[in-house]
Symmetry: none
Subunit: 402 residues, 2 copies
């Protein structure tokens, strides 16, 4: 397969036109059994419908048909990065998810507090899902250790989950997990998978030993399990590939972190939908690509709350009129994946997308919905093609070949 | 390109849900000049239409647009195996097509009886298409030879076609064909393409020499041509990839053989459509994936018998009500390729597909037909994506990435 980025990089050009990519997280849904309508179809969305009328619609597959993506591959795909070849390690994802500013050379790993019995076997990989408050307290006990001149940061995430960041010279991430991924066995020894990682394995092992001592009296959270040692990846940036000056407006750390990994600037913003749109307006003159991320649709879907998801979509629709009045050259509205309230989680269903520009060759769709998008002029296509389409519609791509 | 199996294997999970893949061989057709309707559109199919209404429809390309597939790549694609990278050798295909039980290490090759003139040049590669009865008689003369301690099985297929299986130590398939694929030249010498295949080349050459002597008096079938030396491939099994317990219900040896190559259990069944559905019902409790193969649609298409193909489709539709009453979690109905009666053979036209599950996000299609499926919610997609979709709808796939 042609790698998107390799195809685009030599033909992209900088221009004053502006692209807004509005990602309504978990946008796609499933029909409510009583009405036969999805969340998006139920919501009253005059502005989205107007954009759909003037624009062109379709359905995207975040990874490929049938595959339910996590947030990270789903967003990478929307930014044009093949989510199967561009990976973000588990530890790094957790670190960026709590807004931890990873420096080059830092190694991050995900941690679980867990329970060991008196013989040293894991009886609960999540220590009975201790409270986040307890997690914060225990992380305090472990934070700030210095082992072989490497400094350790131990930061709480939620419940039994935390992150360890190892900062120091000559650290490498190629070490095995200590998390055995099952109960009834001992934690595994962290071992180097490549020779360069010997030092990292040794430091991680010492940390685990010290943690065991420090946590001894804190049953059920009397041990740690580590997995997903990883380093901040160095992806080609959107500036390099697309010659854009891109910016992210997102209130959740995870999305801010992923945007940062592909080279976007990340703006401070408030947490409401109105705050995010206001941030866009205030900074509209300074960038030519805006990734605006709405989280609450996904959260409502995950909570199986059909009506709340409908409500959030309507809020986004209302906020949209403000954006439309700024007349960006290209507006793309889509989701990173579907999160049907009926399933209460991410799903594999393709995601509705609309693209509006002066040059978009409109189709006959006048309603932004899953069932209408089936008939849209964009057809059904992989999410990695969204950026090339947006770039083309912004007249930011030169001809390919002569 | 993402390899499907590599993507799916780490995220597949076993669960009690059941998938039925009903393959109506050669299902797709072309419109009858008098009615403008295809075979499927002409058939009265209330059950298929009901499933289309509750489910989601689309069109699949077995290999890629414009490519007319043989049965083997078409089925591999439906099982999720990229038919361009997963090959079944010609000899192996012929062997499994006659239900020959290939053992590990066996080398199979396709054979033709042919005609040589007095100077040793091939004048007819098919020996005037001798009768199958004659073929059986000649195979008897050649069967059971032992050459250099390798045992040879020579088995009739049909008309001038037969299979040779070489069983013995240290046999390799990397030898060239003796079939020159043209007349007016001598048969080629079988030569080793890799050093490991010297022994095989020698044994094959001795067999050809002996066959020439034995057949001398049997003009026009006075010689053999061999091609497609191959060994049973070791594909990843569907059990390994999908964590399914898969089973095949097919009355034709070729399809039983292909199913066996991808690790399906193959059930004994009768040859009628009703028999096959009855076999499914009897074994419903024991498996979670059922490949049910209907051959007669393809045969009717190959015979250019439009009306007979219509009739078979109607029979399948009737039998379907029984299946629907068992309430499988996922039902997929499609074909391996199109066999329009108007063309009298396999064709490149995309094949209608319907998928029904509780989670399928229904579209607006209420009729299972080529022309309606164009507007289906599944869109048009490669046949290799059918399994990921079926797995997703059976809730047998974990999330990809975090």
């Amino acid at each position: 397969m042609i790698d998107n980025l390799e195809l685009i990089k030599p033909i992209s050009r900088s221009s004053p036109t502006k692209i807004v990519l509005l990602v309504i997280d978990g946008l796609g849904g499933l029909p409510h059994p009583q009405t036969g309508k999805t969340e998006l179809e139920t919501a009253n969305t005059p502005n989205l419908d107007q954009l759909a009328t003037k624009g062109i619609c379709g359905l995207i597959d975040p990874v490929s048909p049938g595959i339910t993506p996590g947030s990270s591959p789903a967003h990478l795909a929307l930014f044009g990065y093949n989510p199967v070849s561009f990976n973000i390690g588990r530890g790094v994802l957790e670190a960026i998810g709590i807004d931890f500013n990873l420096e080059p050379g830092d190694i991050a790993t995900r941690g679980n507090f867990c329970t060991l019995d008196e013989t040293g076997l894991v009886t609960d990989r999540r220590a009975g899902r201790i409270s986040t408050r307890k997690c914060i307290e225990l992380c305090h006990l472990l934070d700030g250790l210095v082992i072989d001149e490497a400094k350790l940061f131990v930061c709480p995430v939620r419940e039994h989950r935390f992150v360890v960041i190892f900062r120091g010279d000559a650290l490498a991430s190629e070490v095995s997990d200590s998390d055995p991924q099952q109960t009834g066995v001992s934690p595994k020894t962290v071992t180097a998978v490549s020779p360069e990682a010997d030092r990292m394995a040794s430091i991680a092992s010492q940390f685990i030993a010290q943690a065991k001592t420090i946590l001894a009296e804190h049953y059920p959270a009397n041990m740690v399990l580590l997995r997903g040692f990883s380093q901040r990846p160095s992806f080609p940036t959107m500036g390099e590939v697309y010659k854009l000056k891109p910016v992210a407006i997102a209130s959740y750390p995870m999305y801010r972190g992923i945007a940062n990994l592909v080279g976007m600037e990340v703006l401070d913003t408030g947490s409401s939908i109105e705050d995010e749109f206001a941030t866009l307006k205030q900074n509209y003159a300074n960038y030519d690509f805006f990734f605006l991320h709405i989280k609450e649709t996904d959260t409502a879907g995950e909570d199986s709350d059909f009506d709340r998801k409908v409500g959030v979509i309507e809020q986004v629709d209302t906020a949209l009129s403000n954006l439309m009045s700024m007349e960006p050259d290209v507006i793309v509205v889509t989701g990173d994946h579907s999160t049907p309230a009926l399933l209460g989680g991410h799903s594999w269903h393709p995601v509705p997308i609309l693209l509006y520009s002066k040059w978009c060759r409109p189709d006959r769709i006048s309603e932004f919905s899953e069932s209408a998008c089936i008939f849209g002029g964009l057809g059904r296509f992989p999410a990695t093609q969204v950026m090339p389409l947006a770039m083309a519609n912004a007249l930011k791509l030169n001809k390919f070949g002569a």
